[in-house]
Symmetry: C2
Subunit: 172 residues, 2 copies
DNA sequence: TGTACATCAGTGAACGCGCGTTCACTGATGTAC
DNA sequence: TGTACATCAGTGAACGCGCGTTCACTGATGTAC
């Protein structure tokens, strides 16, 4: 049960604490902090992908917003993990490929739902939109107080992007 | 000349180092780390707003993408400052109001350029889109290698959102 | 069944690091008379 | 013009903290014979 506590940010010692184990125990299983971080990120991406697939069975374009809602909800439910997964990473990081996979999941969905759209551009825009909403909510720039407020905002934002894809050429 | 160095993240000592001054010198001017952080953030928002206004004189909807490009370029040029400005903040943080001001700048521009659109929803979507693109590029999830690659990607993403606003109801 | 040994997850003390912060100080500049 | 004093930006030593990491260790479990 390797979990990141709600409030605190990632550190090797914080993970050990969260697991109820001494600060040095993780070294039995991981070479160093970076190896632990990568393993947590990979597991996190597995969960995120499962959430995205579960939340959305997009039969038409509007339901793509469900992807966005699931993405933002995941980020708000596990902020430390989300930051770990999608935070700064180097050139040859496993997280780079994992993030690419998420983008491709979105892209292939768009290809079946909106075959006439520029799937690559639209997938990038959709991902960036969800990503921006996730960070703005996580970082307290948009309110998360109201019941259903977050989901409504995400849906309304996706409404703007997605109705474009069917009706206009997304490349300016 | 209070600046944040390119690579390193914000800390009181890092700012002092960047200013070529001892670690304790900032206490002559700021009560504590948080006061320094707020002052830098406020100054940063002033610069960002100036960049946004300078980069874009939106006469029609497509040019709103210039806002997005300026936003992302600012983030990539001053990543530590950008993270400081738009990173986690509490309920009564000056940065909250400053961020709100940026949103309102975008919103009022939309109101004059696209009077028929849902300006509030569209401004939030546009901000989130630019914000997501900024973080995805900063954090190495989207390539920043190619000449003009970033600006092209931002324009193409904004194309998708903005052409919607003129042609369809952005609320799903 | 019992004895000897290997394996292996976890422990606690210790290290060096950068951090925020305090403290008493120095040295330059400005002001009063 | 010179002397006495206040102001104030900056200094360097020192503190306690959480971090990543090392080290020698303990104690439980499994395996060989």
């Amino acid at each position: 049960m390797k979990m990141l506590e709600q409030g605190e940010s990632f550190s090797l010692r914080a993970v050990a604490r969260g697991a109820g184990v001494s600060a040095t125990a993780p070294y039995r299983h991981f070479a160093d902090r970076e190896a632990l971080e990568s393993a947590l990120a990979v597991e996190g991406f597995r969960e995120l992908k499962a959430d995205l697939i579960a939340a959305s069975r997009p039969s038409h374009a509007a339901e793509l917003a469900d992807f966005g809602v699931a993405y933002v909800v995941f980020a708000l439910r596990r902020p430390a993990l989300f930051r770990l997964m999608l935070g700064p990473c180097g050139e040859h990081d496993v997280r780079r490929q994992a993030a690419e996979d998420v983008l491709e999941l979105l892209e292939s969905t768009i290809r079946t739902v909106l075959p006439e759209a520029d799937a690559e551009a639209l997938a990038t825009a959709g991902w960036a939109l969800a990503h921006g909403l996730a960070f703005l909510h996580m970082d307290g720039k948009l309110s998360t107080a109201g019941q259903g407020e977050v989901a409504d905002r995400v849906r309304s934002a996706f409404g703007a992007i997605m109705s474009a894809a069917g009706s206009a050429d997304p490349t300016a």
